[in-house]
Symmetry: C2
Subunit: 215 residues, 2 copies
Amino acid sequence: MQDELLLYPHPSVTIDCVVFGYDGEQLSILLLNRRDEPFANQWTLPGGFLRLEETFEEAAQRILKDKTGIENLFLEQLYTFGGLSRDPRGRVLSVAYYALVNPAKYQLMVGQMANELRWFHWKLLPPLGFDHEHIAQVAQARLAAKIQYQPIGFELLNAQFTMSELQALHECILGESLDRRNFHKRMMASGLLRSTGERREGLKSRPAELFEFIP
Amino acid sequence: MQDELLLYPHPSVTIDCVVFGYDGEQLSILLLNRRDEPFANQWTLPGGFLRLEETFEEAAQRILKDKTGIENLFLEQLYTFGGLSRDPRGRVLSVAYYALVNPAKYQLMVGQMANELRWFHWKLLPPLGFDHEHIAQVAQARLAAKIQYQPIGFELLNAQFTMSELQALHECILGESLDRRNFHKRMMASGLLRSTGERREGLKSRPAELFEFIP
């Protein structure tokens, strides 16, 4: 039965990783400057070819480790991109994965196939190779949709956080300013978080109430 | 550069289609009884191999037309399944697409590679070949998540519908009963629909208020 598969032409399959960073102030994205063609010396998402013996998740972990030094990231599947002309080498599909991390927690290590790695501010992206700008946009839109309903910030904020810190995270991911009072009301109505009953002393302002996500 | 791709082993890629039906009373799913191995004489989702010269969407339309007679369906990408042992023939990835339609609007035509086509009640599925039971579950979960925030029923209900009709759709997709009063309140707060100001005469009950989705 194995031979039957040879009757069909096979596309190539890559895994591309959209790794967003949030450091408490801005949303960034991890890009790799390619050493080789196609798109040599241009910025792209870290990615690589899927091997027959590994799952998507295993491939994503291997590729990130080899190309960026980052290990054990919690990645979720974003979407599969299959445009006919997205890769000059031929028909190459990309199963894209994404994650949101605190960049300070990861030490980058430039792999053999890259000139450089860098966290770029989300609003100051360079031109990207392949269709990676489109993939990055889809990932940001997914993140923005998701943060409305799920507590996706909990690895990026301290266990206890102020409403201002949570709002800053939301504003960075959504790419827009939010009304403070409405945000507070919506968050408390969401059932995702609760007050800890404690306050953090501010330098100039009055002590800010501390919240935590409900496990 | 084309030759470079040959250095990498290539998985096979299929497109599988999860077509849900809603006829005003129950949620169903379109299944195909396979003529050939693997899984000969067993039920599966309609699917087929991706051709190099077509996009996922084109492949999905071609496969549905050839195997079920259904044309011009609005399909959305669900997820890509890449488990190592999901197909006995070797490494086969499945890019799954899904849709929700009114079965009465489509005439089924059994293609060459099938024994039979049938709409199965969602709660009475037969055992499925490949990992298609898992794919179907993921699709139902996606539909259930989506109906909370988007007016996905508008092709399935009449342009004007009663709140009971909308609730029946939601209950079928969610697979659970909903409280009538809460449902009404939540729907009106969603901003997705509005009252038409008209009422439909019931046979026994008092005339029911009619609603429409806000375009």
